[in-house]
């Protein structure tokens, strides 16, 4: 990550923007959030991600950061439903599956799907800094 704070902010936003379609799909399809609820969670995730990249031990490439971002997005989706238990049971099969398998598993599946999409021949993906 660039040392200059404003450059770093731009770089973090750029990386977040690259992962956003996947996050969107996770929240809408796998966790059944409404459009407005998903947008709210995405704003929180963006703020969180700005702090996350400043932590020591955080990797700095898109390929290494994406799993953490997806994992946190799925956690957020999971927690959304945990807060509703007993009040509203999700009827959607996708959501039921996500809640049964847990956020880490769903994030892993999304990551694998994305890797396969970027790398259809099975070659190592090009590192994006």
């Amino acid at each position: 990550m660039p040392g200059n704070p404003s450059n770093r902010r731009e770089e973090v936003d750029r990386i977040f923007g690259r992962v956003l379609p996947l996050i969107d799909s996770a929240l809408l399809q796998h966790y059944g959030l409404s459009r407005s609820e998903a947008s709210e969670v995405e704003d929180c995730l963006r703020d969180w991600f700005h702090g996350f990249v400043r932590r020591p031990g955080t990797p700095c490439t898109l390929a290494q950061l994406r799993p953490h971002l997806l994992s946190m997005a799925c956690n957020a989706g999971h927690v959304y439903w945990s807060g509703k238990i007993g009040q509203e049971v999700p009827l959607d099969g996708n959501v039921q599956r996500s809640l049964t398998l847990g956020p880490q598993r769903i994030a892993g599946e999304l990551e694998k799907t994305q890797e396969a999409r970027e790398n259809p021949g099975g070659h190592l993906p090009k590192e994006d800094h």
Binding site: W48, G51, F52, R55, C60, A76
Partner: protein, 348 residues
Amino acid sequence: MAERVLATPMSERLGKGCELPLEDSELLLSVCEVLRSRVETAPTAARDEAIFFYGFLDEPTRRIGLFDEREYYMGELALIAGGSNRLLFHREEARRWLDRAEASFTRSANGLAHVARVAYQRLALALEERRFNEVLELAPLWVESFESMGLAEDALKCRFLEGIALGETSEIDGAVAVFLDICRRAEDQRNLRLIAQASNNLTQFYRALGNFDEAMVYARKALPLLKQLDNRVGLVKLQWQVGSILREQGKLNEAMGAYREALDESRAVGMRGDVAALHLVLADVMLDAGQDRQAEWEVRAALPIIDEEQMVPEGFAALSLLRNALRYQQVDRKALRELHGYFGDSQA
């Protein structure tokens, strides 16, 4: 804002809730950054501040930031407290804080990397407790783990421990090879901190090989970098090494001057283990210089610290011999050397 909060006495912070947003995530992130940078320059203050903020987050349970942020900050603050306690020779406290750090990090994002950072501190503790076989076995495994996570600097830090353990097990050539490699890699990464520390260690190991010229080359390389980085812990160790080189060259007065500087610096930083060891080393040189009376006073200055901090339990016999000899206003040379040997020579 972090600097402002840290400049406010701890006892006044909670009462100034409106002016000092202690629950603000951005503030906590900055506080952690500042405290991390102070661990090696002011470990006592870094530890006390980390414990203050940890307590603030822990009791009562507060809602902090987004998602995993509370767990992360608690882990980070506990890790700072653990690392500072380790440098301050408070090993049991260090262990307890590292356990707390691990417990919090396992509930935060990127937990594997943070648990590995805790493991590094535990390995450093093992080194200080002279469990060298453990370090030599585990350090290469953690190097691999850090490298697989893309954490090159942390991987190099583990190699440091491996290099020191090699040196301590008389594999000096192996230690020199490790540190020359670390220096090269750190230069590639433009990591001044690691270049300074690796140069500091090369000073130590070239000295052990009797190659004083090369030792001084690396001492001269390390000195301005350590000053630039305000790495006072590193400066203590370097001045200690320079004292030992001068002593081995027969320059006793200059050696005493260098040891005295290291002693003053270690006292200022609050490194009581080093203060005690340096008093003993100074006593040893003073005996060489025929200053028996001053040597006795140096030993007398070291003993209460060793008692208070319950250091070197394995050196109990030597400690007793030394204390008995002091009753007759004498210094038992063999016991003295045995005792300061238990502290290990200065390690980076």
